[in-house]
Symmetry: C2
Subunit: 583 residues, 2 copies
């Protein structure tokens, strides 16, 4: 090694020792007869010192070194007179005896500091420089540590990591596949996996009863801020299990990560919330339970009292915001604007102020008397000083709007501390969703999800009411993972495909290998998959998944650093028997 | 869990305990009043016993169970009267009290046994059943254990695993890329990585001074028996290192794996063999050093002695085979046929038998007298009872043919024990290879490989003689990994691209981002990549890489189980702005 130590490890105990460090120049200061250079590597920063009096030549040379130069310096560890207790190496410095410039650097396009002056696009283009910055570097290290702990835990539990193929078969179900043209078989294509779902089920049929894989998956979607075309899953499957075995096993994984990564001993069992209850209380199947502010249904109390806006709607519900009685007109107008945004979709906001003096002031005083409003207050557990915020309309859409309003209020009131984590399982999802457009059922999870046994009788009578044996792990309002007990019976799987509108030929063509495998002794099995990028982002405490990926794509799916996607040569296209059309 | 124990864990110590096992029926035997069923899972096999006298109903039901049925059986652990010491559970059996068929099985298309009656194609089609067979299952578990130990070792050495992107940019250098059409940007494509080479170099520039990744790589080649279109690499890179630092670090990894996987304490340093010496002594840069039988150059001794076949050639060389003096005419004819095969390429075989009685008999007695032949014998260290096998021709081709002949003799003489491992480093490769067809140099390793410092002066005068700062790890004649110290200087990299026939525009277009990154403080760095599939195969002791991949492709790049590649729908093609031509 060109170095004897890293820039993060020297302490006072090494006083007087001769050492060699390699790294990048973080900054350089000339103070009269002295020059100080902070040298940085992955492990930390150490101060180098050069003395004009004792070694003028060396010191002059050091003064020529710019930021981000790569240098190798040899010298003696010395106790600093002016100690910096903010960094672990701050009690020492290196009195340099000789140094070498290993490589020069032009002035970087943005500053390599905690906070940088570089904009998003510039930092993505020079991602290799952005990765030098402490906050980004820390994220990548956090990602590695989480992956390592996931593997450690699952290995202890006798899981085996098995690689499944990346070049697989395209299936029209679900999101769009990325495809890969075959050169050897003109006109045919592989697809990149959206998940290894069918392969992990085949592994259960093979008898590998505890499988996992940290695996890249791919979805060709129209990109959103928090979506990447390639993402990483912690993919898991077990045989001879029922739902609670899966929940316990992976609650154990989550607790292991809480302990190892966030140093938090999570002793209690994670709450389990049925889907319907989540929807009623939080307006969403991904509830953020760091704060209460539950949604209350006041339809029966508020409908049919002569207020036309309410009388025509399916649902009326609201939340009680502590201390909100003092909100100004302006603030209430802003909240009204918020719920009216197209992505929230409410038509208006009704408020009821429960003033500290015991009076009540609402935007619907004309239609509801004090007694009626008191009933709302009772239902919503309001107290003097609070405000009730009420929305009305279509049940599903209104609950959605209320969920967004609830989160907005949580944010405004500082109830969403990044260092508090409230995990829970959401269970008992519907198996099927009716799709008006295609006039058929869609699988809410995927077509391999089994129903809860008690609901088997509904297959013939009311399929929309069947509950799936499925579950999501939600932490702080983020869906971290989801899974289900799978169908392992050929007949049941065929019936499911039929319900989903597959003809027997389509089912055979797309999933024939799985149906076939079910003939030869498929064990009962189930599993779960976690969005690894999301989980790391949650534990890292910032918002963008991109911050936790070494080389992410931008929101248009482009890697601006290597400038791809890009055009192929004519010869490449010819070899693939392809022509680009409508370009 | 549906079970209390696995089928591999019960021992005599559990005598009398009530247990529940789940698994597949391996086989079933009816012996008069008793029925025995062997139940199998990932962990082993346990014998279930049913007694017609004590429970006729249960026993009759058990007799209806076929092979590969999935069952769940509850009963009492009992000491066996007739113990089977060949399996860990062989001292006990389970006296079944109740059982359930969890799933039936049709008769599998081949037997699920150590040795199967299924042919390759059938086993690939029903890979999920093949994976139930012990030898295949063991391979997959071995693969996992090796991956785990690789990660453990590298983590201890402070390496960080960082995921690099799968959707990258196509570059014409090297093998053919698999490509992925972009839907959002019509006419543009991503490519799948042949290796994360440039990304790991960028990570070094980012300051992550010890990187690794177990990563899928892709090459669209015309497939051969031991090649897969997707394969797994252990990809590694380090900063602030010289060659020996890399060799020591990864020799450590190899030794760790020898110890953990093969229980072999490899104490000595791995030999380091210069490329030229490997070629001279073994005829190949991937020498199998489990046995000696070194190639000897006898050009000077044998040329110009009036034997026309030899007089016109560039090179004459041979090997001495111990005990070969007794070879029959027939055997020598077969060896002659062997070296004449097109893939070996020799024109004929000359032999010299050193008989046990001291006489010498050769196929060139007419042209060489005893004294001359004795000189060959001296040079090749032949002894009474041996045979010298001599080939002549173009130096490169003849050394190649000799390397194949040497391996053939090693095989015939049983010198290639699968449980003996002789690792070595091959070093000092040529940096460049002259290609007659394109009339230019190619990079022997890749364009980012640096030259050995002593050879820098040859860049201007004799580039073909420059030695690369590159190295391969070879074990038992298999190239397990290779790497190099990289160029980290922008000027040197530009010069390299120029030597390789890139115009400045081409270099900029394909590797501009890397050249650009070199401007901002690139540290000295180097690395290595191991073929993980190959390494597992070597440690597993069988020949085919496919045996160690859960779901491999066949030699035509097809997954016959899921039947892919396959055609896309017209709509998919339209969305991708693609048309299939010359189909």
């Amino acid at each position: 090694m060109l170095r004897t130590h890293t820039c993060g490890e020297l302490r006072l105990s090494k006083n007087g020792k001769k050492v060699t460090l390699c790294g990048w120049v973080q900054k350089s200061r000339d103070l009269g007869g002295m020059t100080f250079i902070d040298i940085r590597d992955r492990y930390g920063i150490t101060q180098l010192v050069f003395n004009m009096e004792t070694n003028a030549g060396l010191c002059s040379n050091a003064r020529k070194i710019g930021r981000e130069f790569v240098i190798c310096a040899t010298g003696i560890v010395k106790e600093r007179s002016n100690k910096n207790f903010n960094i672990p190496t701050g009690e020492i410095e290196i009195v340099v005896q000789e140094f070498k410039v290993l490589n020069k650097s032009e002035v970087p396009p943005f500053t390599i500091e905690e906070e940088t002056d570089g904009g998003e696009e510039l930092r993505m283009k020079y991602r290799y420089l952005d990765l030098r910055r402490n906050p980004v570097k820390k994220n990548i290290i956090l990602r590695y540590e989480m992956a390592r702990e996931v593997r450690k835990y699952l290995d202890l539990k006798e899981f085996i990591e098995i690689e499944t193929p990346v070049l697989i078969k395209s299936t029209p179900e679900g999101a769009r596949d990325f495809v890969v043209p075959s050169r050897l078989k003109a006109g045919e294509f592989y697809a990149l996996p959206q998940s290894p779902q069918t392969f992990k089920q085949l592994l259960m049929i093979s008898g590998f009863d505890k499988y996992f894989q940290l695996v890249k998956c791919f979805r060709d979607e129209d990109f959103r801020a928090d979506r990447q075309p390639e993402f990483t899953q912690i993919d898991c499957e077990m045989s001879f299990v029922e739902r609670d075995d899966i929940l316990e096993t992976f609650e154990g994984l989550a607790k292991h990560l809480f302990k190892k990564i966030r140093d938090f001993d999570y002793k209690d069992a994670f709450p389990r919330l049925p889907y319907n209850e989540a929807l009623e209380k939080y307006g969403t199947d991904k509830p953020d339970t760091r704060f209460e502010m539950l949604i209350q249904d006041i339809t029966e109390l508020a409908k049919g009292k002569g207020f036309k806006v309410f009388d025509s709607v399916e649902y009326i519900g609201g939340i009680c915001v502590k201390g909100g009685a003092e909100y100004s007109r302006k603030k209430l107008d802003a909240l009204t604007d918020f719920v009216r945004k197209p992505q929230i979709g409410a038509t208006g906001l009704v408020y009821v102020k429960l003033n500290n003096d015991g009076t009540v002031k609402s935007s619907v005083d004309k239609f509801f008397n004090r007694e009626e409003l008191d009933k709302w207050t009772g239902n919503m557990e309001g107290e003097n000083g609070d405000i009730l915020l009420v929305l009305a309309g279509d049940r599903k859409k209104t609950l959605y709007a209320l969920s967004k309003l609830r989160l907005e209020m949580g944010k405004q009131l500082g109830l969403m501390d990044k260092n508090t984590f409230t995990p829970l399982w959401v269970v008992d999802f519907p198996l099927l969703e009716w799709d008006d457009e295609s006039q058929r059922y869609h699988a809410m999870h995927h077509p391999f999800t089994s129903a809860i046994k008690d609901d088997f009788h509904l297959f013939k009578t009311d399929p929309g009411k069947i509950r799936a044996n499925a579950y999501d792990l939600v932490i702080n309002g983020v869906e971290i993972g989801g899974g289900s007990i799978r169908i392992h019976d050929k007949q049941k799987q065929a019936e499911m495909f039929r319900l989903l509108g597959f003809s027997p030929e389509e089912a055979e063509n797309q999933f024939g290998f799985l149906m076939n495998a079910f003939k030869y002794g498929a064990p009962p099995h189930g599993g779960i998959a976690f969005g690894f990028d999301r989980w790391v982002t949650l534990f890292g405490g910032t918002d963008s998944i991109r911050d936790y990926i070494a080389f992410p794509k931008n929101t248009a799916g482009r890697d601006v650093m290597i400038d791809t996607p890009s055009v192929l040569s004519d010869e490449q296209l010819r070899e693939l028997s392809l022509k680009v059309v409508n370009k």
